[in-house]
């Protein structure tokens, strides 16, 4: 890997030291928790880096793609709900097919008919009639599905397949959404893509929150199947307990750490595979073409490169990686909670990672992912300590003191904004620059 220089290896060692330090100072459990999310964040940062670093595309809808990945985890791994399919599942699907057919029909008519008032009227009739047929079929189905034991299920459930399968499926879902957005907004000003992605992210979250038949909405889906054993099973396993006692560890904490290590192992495999693929791609003729397009679209298109098609391709690829990471994250959490998807955390924080790490460089994005995620977690206790220091001299019942202590949690937003601005100003190429 030609891009890794000794000082960059040193940066990785330093970030590693942060995690090891966390292990010694706080606990290994905490360090591994942060590390696992760091792995997921690094993969998200890789996805955004593909779009921004290789091609200069500005995607601020990362949250939406991540959430689609989370949805995939539910749809693939949860067991199908008994009775829900019989009650109205088929009808719901039929409704969706009718809705899609309406849109396809309108597009076909648009292409076939000559421009003019007639075309507008026909399209309007198709869309309006299609919409009401869709709602009639779909709403009835949804009502029946949601009435199947609403306290526990009330949704269609999934396919009951191994949860690891949902990772590529999450990528596919995100790729599909990216195709729709890319088809519309690519080829226009870069700001338009930004705003369109911002919108799709909000809509994906709204769908997840409101479509109870799909993934229970705000009632959340909990208890997703896991790709690794449960802690209690390990504690019940004699060989594991012997092993733990053999190294002088308490079986309970050993089991939590073993589970986290197992997740980390799975994630590391995915991360390394992605880095390998992206490095290969970046250093291939394809990667050179992408960078040529990014640096000068006009001359690239003069050389016969189809700028819009390449942009669409890289946009879909990057979004798919974000979706993959989203499915992994939901697997790690073991639950899908639509209310937790916040744009500041899932879109803009990933951007800070890419900019800080070094846009255009895969290793940089990964480093940024780990470093910024560690900071995001640790700034809160550091902020609280700082506030305690500031307020130490104040009276116990001072309202200002209470307010400052309560507000310490918001320090992380300030810190992240400051870091982003400082890096952008003084080291715009990031910690590990592109070349």
């Amino acid at each position: 890997m030609k891009t890794m220089q000794p000082k960059h290896v040193l940066l990785f060692v330093l970030v590693g030291a942060l995690f090891i330090g966390t292990g010694f100072v706080q606990s290994w459990n905490t360090a591994l928790t942060i590390f696992n999310m760091g792995l997921v964040s690094a993969i998200m940062a890789l996805g955004v880096n593909m779009q921004w670093g290789y091609a200069g595309l500005f995607n601020v809808g990362v949250m939406g793609f991540v959430a689609l990945g989370g949805l995939a985890a539910v749809l693939v791994s949860m067991p199908p709900v008994e009775g829900a399919w019989a009650a109205g599942g088929v009808q719901v699907l039929l409704g969706l097919v009718l809705g899609a057919a309406t849109i396809v029909g309108a597009i076909l008519v648009w292409g076939r008919m000559r421009p003019g008032r007639m075309r507008g009227i026909v399209i309007l009739i198709i869309l309006v009639a299609g919409f009401f047929i869709f709602r009639a079929v779909f709403d009835a189905g949804v009502a029946r599905v949601e009435s199947v034991d609403p306290a526990l299920t009330g949704y269609l459930g999934g396919l009951g397949l191994p949860v690891v399968l949902s990772w590529p499926v999450g990528g596919l879902l995100a790729a599909g959404a990216a195709w729709i957005i890319g088809k519309t907004a690519l080829g226009l000003r870069s700001d338009y893509l930004a705003i369109a992605t911002l919108g799709i992210a909000e809509i994906v979250i709204a769908v997840l929150k409101n479509e109870d038949w799909l993934a229970r909405g705000v009632k959340n889906v909990t208890g997703l199947p896991r790709p690794v054993p449960f802690e209690v099973d390990l504690q019940a396993n004699e060989r594991f307990v012997e092993l733990a006692q053999g190294i002088g560890a308490d079986p309970v904490s050993a089991s939590t750490i073993a589970v986290k290590l197992a997740y980390a192992g799975l994630f590391i495999v995915v991360l390394l595979a992605l880095i390998w693929l992206s490095e290969k791609a970046l250093n291939s003729p394809w990667g050179r073409m992408m960078r040529a397009i990014r640096d000068n679209e006009i001359s690239a298109s003069a050389m016969g490169k189809n700028v819009k098609a390449r942009h669409l391709q890289i946009f879909i690829l990057g979004s798919a990686v974000c979706g993959l990471a989203g499915a992994m994250m939901t697997t790690l959490d073991g639950q899908l909670v639509p209310g937790t998807y916040q744009p500041l955390r899932f879109t803009f924080l990933i951007w800070v990672m890419v900019i800080v790490g070094g846009s255009g460089n895969n290793w940089g994005a990964v480093l940024g992912g780990f470093l910024v995620w560690w900071l995001w977690i640790q700034v809160e206790p550091i902020g609280l300590m700082l506030m305690q220091g500031i307020t130490a001299g104040m009276a116990e019942d001072s309202a200002l003191r209470d307010h400052l202590l309560d507000s310490a949690a918001h320090m992380r937003l300030l810190t992240m904004g400051l870091i982003l601005l400082l890096v952008l100003r003084f080291s715009p190429r990031g910690l590990i620059p592109e070349r």
Partner: protein, 336 residues
């Protein structure tokens, strides 16, 4: 009679709220469009600028309320508004000095400004949450209604009431004043004219001796006034919650783009287009139809096209349609 009842219901639940919301969006979109026209980037910190302005205004309002000052039937927040505008103006000029000026000197690409505005957004968001917290804050006082539903019913003898809230009335009046002032400034004053010249053709404007820093300074001041006003009006009409202001970014951007980025008249039109479609599509028309349709045709359902949770989808769909068919917006904006 039934027809009048239907009309009143429509006015009460669709037309009046949409007009007030449209005015708020228009003020927000005017700020976005001005920054786009003069500084040439989409400012992602705009929602949080609105939140900051509203926050300062709320704090001053609380202080005034505590001191026993009030405007009688009008909300005290109107008295506090100038302070909010001044504070936001200072903040924006400070941000410009600390962040954007550097990139102007470098002649950086627009997307770099946008990323810088993300950083600014984080910081402003942090400041607002740090000072006032994340919870809902209500600060409206004074008379609640210009016409309450009951008075209207007694006055007219209709079955349906028409409630016209003070906050809605104030929103519309203040928005009209603000827009009139803005257009007067842009069209009649020397500084306003130099701003338009700068927006139309930067090189020519520089050649004719317009001082770009001065233009930028005035732009930020005007944006501060517009954003604070929009934020306070929205807060009076609904309630103040920092996260809602962040989410307003999408309808505001949609308004500005639909109208044509960089075109102030377009921003106003876009604001109303978005507000009216959002409310019409998410309103349940059952009551209106029940007055108009004959007995046997009474609707069973709510007659709601989309649930209110999908209001973002409406602004988004309009945005996509405009981008697909007319990327420069309804009224011609800047280049695509």
């Amino acid at each position: 009679m039934d027809f009048l009842n239907a009309l009143v219901t429509l006015l009460n639940f669709v037309i009046i709220p949409a007009t007030a919301y449209g005015a708020q969006l228009a003020l927000g979109a005017l700020g976005v469009t001005l920054i786009y026209g003069i500084l040439r980037f989409s400012n992602f910190a705009h929602g949080d600028t609105m939140a900051f302005g509203a926050m300062v205004t709320i704090l001053v309002t609380w202080f005034l309320q505590g001191a026993g000052v009030s405007l009688g039937p009008l909300p005290t927040a109107l008295l506090a508004l100038p302070v909010g505008i001044a504070a936001t103006g200072l903040l924006l000029i400070g941000t410009d000095r600390a962040v954007y000026r550097f990139y102007r000197a470098q002649k950086a690409k627009p997307v770099i400004y946008v990323i810088a505005s993300l950083g600014v957004m984080f910081i402003m968001n942090g400041i607002v949450r740090f000072i006032i917290g994340v919870d809902d804050q209500r600060f409206a006082d004074g008379e609640r209604f210009i016409i309450s539903a009951r008075t209207f019913r007694e006055m007219t003898g209709l079955e349906e009431g028409l409630a016209f809230r003070t906050s809605q009335g104030i929103t519309i009046v203040v928005a009209i004043i603000a827009v009139a002032l803005l257009f007067w400034f842009l069209n009649r004053t020397r500084t306003g004219k130099s701003m338009r010249a700068f927006s139309d053709n930067e090189d020519l404007a520089l050649l004719s001796g317009i001082n770009p820093e001065r233009v930028v300074l005035y732009t930020w001041l005007i944006v501060a006034a517009l954003a604070t006003t929009a934020g306070v009006l929205y807060g009076l009409d609904k309630s103040f919650k920092p996260f809602t202001y962040f989410q307003l970014l999408l309808p505001i951007f949609a308004s500005a783009i639909v109208g044509g980025l960089g075109n102030p008249l377009g921003a106003i039109l876009g604001g109303f287009v978005i507000a009216f479609s959002e409310i019409t599509v998410t309103y349940a028309f059952r009551r209106v139809v029940s007055y108009l349709a004959p007995e046997s045709w009474q609707p069973d359902g709510l007659l709601q096209l989309l649930s209110t949770d999908y209001k973002f989808a409406v602004s988004f769909a309009i945005l996509l349609i405009v981008l697909l068919f007319r990327p420069t917006g309804i009224m011609k904006g800047k280049s695509i």
